[in-house]
């Protein structure tokens, strides 16, 4: 009933896995908010910590918190342990610190990180999140005051989780739904170029039908990638269109393929249409290569890992995410080929009907 079905079954299985694992695995616990965020040295201070996905009441008495200053020679740890930790509920904590008179710092203000350690959630760091000020500078005194406490042991969260990012939150899951559309598009276009080359070698109309079907599916995936990307961008970067180099490049790629469809529409004769559009398809894909692989590497981008390397940063794709991301990429690409295959069969039927 379904032709050559094994890879279609594989596509469905991979996508089901992508949806189940991609949506069900929780985010790693994180610190959503700390208030207030600025303190003065030499006073007893209190701050409210709001957690994300945290289980504070479960870990009640085993919680530990430190403020950590990073100096130029950070060989020696400069930490200060919380004097009291009060658990309000699973998501809220009240921390108190006795801030010493002096900071181990050469200037009047400095920033420190907050480290929260729990046997349930694992250790969580809020990097450079808290501002400290002092009235007068005394480096040596500050160093002595901040060297009393030590971080002896940090727990590790061993559960299956996705990384917590304060801008992304749950949208980090879009990595399995938005990014693979782009992969699928590239593969579809790549194969369509292959069939264009085959057409120019054999002048077999079948290769032209395949090229057209692959380009249609690739174009559809490109549009979807652009729209989903715009929505994701709205809620992480603040605007639907941020003039980001990759957004612009995708838009240009889509313009090129829209031109391909217009070119096909300009000819009546089937053979001429197939030949000229195959030539344009190869030429256009070649012009796309610097657009996709060269310029994004040289331009600053909001996308992760840019300015030298457009791949994902180490922090943005950990091993748990890889376990979902790679199957997702394969699954979406196979789905794209399935759609293209159906479009191709319709195209073939149509040409048979025209010949008859």
């Amino acid at each position: 009933m379904i032709r050559q079905s094994w890879w279609k079954i594989l596509a469905v299985l991979l996508l089901v896995y992508t949806f189940v694992a991609g949506l069900l695995v929780p985010l790693k616990p994180g610190i959503a908010e700390v208030s207030p965020r600025a303190f003065k040295a030499g006073s007893e201070v209190e701050m409210t910590v709001t957690g994300y996905n945290s289980m504070y009441s479960k870990a009640k008495n085993d919680l530990n918190a430190w403020l950590k200053l990073s100096g130029e020679n950070a060989k020696d740890e400069r930490v200060l342990k919380a004097s009291s930790i009060q658990v309000i509920n699973d998501r809220t904590l009240k921390l108190a610190f006795k801030l010493p008179e002096y900071l181990p710092s050469e200037s009047k203000d400095d920033v420190c990180s907050l480290i929260l350690d729990s046997p349930v959630d694992g250790a969580i760091v809020l990097p450079e999140g808290i501002a400290l000020t002092q009235d007068s500078v005394n480096f040596q005194e500050g160093l002595d005051l901040w060297s009393v406490d030590k971080i002896i042991h940090l727990n590790v969260n061993s559960g299956l989780t996705f990384p917590y990012r304060s801008v992304l939150y749950e949208t980090i899951r879009n990595q399995y739904y938005h990014v693979p559309l782009w992969f699928a598009m590239l593969f579809l276009f790549l194969f369509s170029v292959g069939f264009s080359v085959r057409y120019l070698r054999t002048f077999d109309a079948d290769a032209d039908h395949r090229t057209l079907a692959l380009n249609r599916a690739g174009f559809a995936f490109g549009i979807l990638g652009l729209i989903t990307g715009a929505i994701w961008a709205k809620y992480t970067w603040g605007a639907y269109w941020s003039w980001d180099v990759k957004q612009n490049m995708t838009a240009v790629a889509l313009l090129i393929y829209a031109a391909y469809f217009i070119l096909r529409g300009a000819f009546q004769d089937e053979e001429k249409k197939a030949r000229l559009s195959a030539v344009y398809n190869i030429f256009a894909f070649a012009a796309l290569i610097p657009l996709i692989f060269v310029i994004p590497r040289l331009t600053d981008s909001l996308h992760p890992g840019n300015g030298g390397n457009p791949a994902f940063g180490k922090d943005d794709l950990d091993n748990t995410m890889r376990m979902v991301f790679y199957p997702a990429g394969i699954g979406w690409t196979l789905l794209g080929f399935w759609i293209a295959a159906i479009a191709y069969r319709i195209e073939k039927l149509q040409s048979k009907l025209l010949d008859a």
């Binding site: 949806f19 949506l23 985010l27 994300y52 992304l168 939150y169 749950e170 949208t171 899951r173 879009n174 739904y177 938005h178 559309l181 599916a217 559809a220 549009i223 979807l224 729209i227 989903t228 929505i231 994701w232 809620y235 992480t236 759609i339 159906i342 479009a343 319709i346 039927l349 149509q350 009907l353 008859a356």
Partner: protein, 73 residues
């Protein structure tokens, strides 16, 4: 028949949009609630609608072919 189907999908899309807007109006910033999870939902929904639209496009083409075959007979 295909036009009916198109109309149906169009109405459905409108309905979903209306629902989203209604909820947004009701609770301040709906899409940002619960760790922005509804952004993921919106993305998946758009992909689904996109694939359905492509299916409709293929369906219309097939209907045309079927009619042609019928005429030839």
């Amino acid at each position: 028949m295909t036009w009916n189907r198109l109309l149906l999908v169009g109405l459905l899309t409108l309905l979903i949009q209306q629902m989203a807007f209604a909820q947004q109006a009701a609770s301040g910033d709906f899409l940002r609630s619960i760790g922005h999870i509804y952004v993921v939902v919106a993305v998946i929904l758009i992909i689904f609608i996109g694939i359905v639209l492509f299916l409709i496009y293929l369906d219309r083409k097939l209907t045309k072919l079927e009619n042609q075959i019928k005429q030839n007979e």
